[in-house]
Amino acid sequence: MNVGLIVAVFVACTVEAVEAVTIVLAMGMTRGWRSALAGVGAGLLALAILIAVLGPALTAVPLGTLRVVVGGLLLIFGLQWLRKAILRASGRKAVHDEAAIFAEEHRRAAEREPSRAEGIDGYGFTVAFKGVLLEGLEVAFIVLTFGANQGQIGVAAAAAGAAVLVVLAVAVAVRAPLSRVPENTMKFAVGVLLTSFGAFWGAEGAGIEWPGGDAALLVLVPAILLWSLLLVNLAGRAPDPRPNTA
């Protein structure tokens, strides 16, 4: 069993689930749980349809082509996540704060006039739907790409499902935004993993033979982690020419 695959998918999906739960909690508490949960249901249904269409299509793509495309996409995602994580860790960018995001969503929702149709509030439904669909798309992307590349979509889906269940269980228990989850640290770790796997698979798909085969990942992941930590230090010392935007 591929431990790297399970850890990468579980951590990435935990981060996305925390973000979706924050949005749904804010809608449920301000606009009503019926509308928020209807939005969650509709979002999950849309996701299920997308996965049912894209999943089998991905497994039909030749492995070399899949690795180039998936490696490239993971590398793009990984570099974006890692850049933001390094800037946040160095203090050059505001950290992702679920409590602040919850408060902002709560304020916006409270300001909107009720828009009810057949007992469903349109604003609460739409925001919950979009939150679940957009965060869920990232989960689906990670599951399908990691899973298809390793021929273990079932394992990847199980890791994602476990992450969502853990986040849901904690959210139900505390009934508050999950601000104590070390989200920025987790995003840093996910950025390192996505970048490493993306570089590995992308190069392999392009025809590169890694020294040591799959074992090269055991060097690549720590090397990218160490380089990123060094960059946190460097970025923290450099003068910031840009405004601090979230």
């Binding site: 793009i76 995602f77 890692l82 850049r83 390094i86 800037l87 380089w227 970025a235």
Partner: protein
Amino acid sequence: MSSARKLPEAVWEFVVGDDWRLAAAAVAAIGGAALLVALGVNAWWWVPALVAMILWLAVTR
């Protein structure tokens, strides 16, 4: 805005994100690796080296 325009914009936003240069650099890294392989060089170091440089430029520029 029509949905015909919204979809490509949503896909662009999802894939490329807020810094297109990182996406371009990732494509260059893998494309460059394919080119080096075609020239007969097993340049396994190419992608990690480029990743290190891209990250350095992205956080210090």
